[in-house]
């Protein structure tokens, strides 16, 4: 079980956007070059982030992407959910009432996700900047 590369790209992009001066947009060209990616592929990922309301996009000349003005305190989990969807790690098609196996798996997953929810991009970005 592995997170997709798309999640990796999304996290890097978000941290980078966090470090931009207020109100300035960055184009997909630059974001892709930074990570050695094809712009069209990264574009698909950025569209997901946009639809999730984590970033804003402006088309046209001098356009690009910037962190959403309305959505503050973006967590790692927000980014992952935007890219991968909110599916559970463990899913059983049967769902017996009070299933003990599911209970364990779900609890473990919660432990992971609560950690990812508590970590904010802005904190990571600031730490990275101060290095």
């Amino acid at each position: 079980m592995r997170y997709s590369n798309a999640t990796n790209y999304a996290l890097h992009t978000m941290v980078h956007l966090m470090l931009q001066p207020e109100r300035s947009s960055v184009g997909v060209q630059e974001l892709a070059q930074m990570q050695d990616l094809s712009p069209t592929y990264l574009s698909k990922i950025l569209t997901k982030l946009t639809k999730a309301g984590l970033i804003e996009s402006t088309p046209g000349a001098k356009g690009g992407y910037k962190i959403s003005r309305t959505k503050h305190n973006i967590s790692f989990l927000d980014v992952i959910y935007a890219v991968e969807g909110e599916t559970n790690f463990f899913e059983c098609s049967i769902h017996h009432e009070g299933c003990l196996i599911e209970n364990v798996m779900t609890q473990a997953e919660e432990n992971m996700k609560s950690e990812l929810k508590s970590k904010l991009l802005i904190d990571i970005a600031k730490k990275a900047e101060s290095k």
Copy 2:
């Protein structure tokens, strides 16, 4: 990101084997039928569990599988590792020194895995039995 079906099958099989009387083997035929699976496919999963030392197999008539006599206190994590390998959820090919993104992802993963390590099959099996 989802755990494979194989992990699901393995967990069910292990719980079932936990509930068998001491020293009695169960054949793949029965284990597969129980879960509505093809025996040959389940067989591949069981071989992984055997190689990981979680169960023991005996070929031939009256053979089959039983919980390992040497490996006690088998955890959920043991089963998952046996089936899926011990790969990390998040892997970056670059590995910058002291990477902050990796730090967060790894910590979250640890939180999940420590939970899975603390949950033992025997406890789940006994609870399920007493229902």
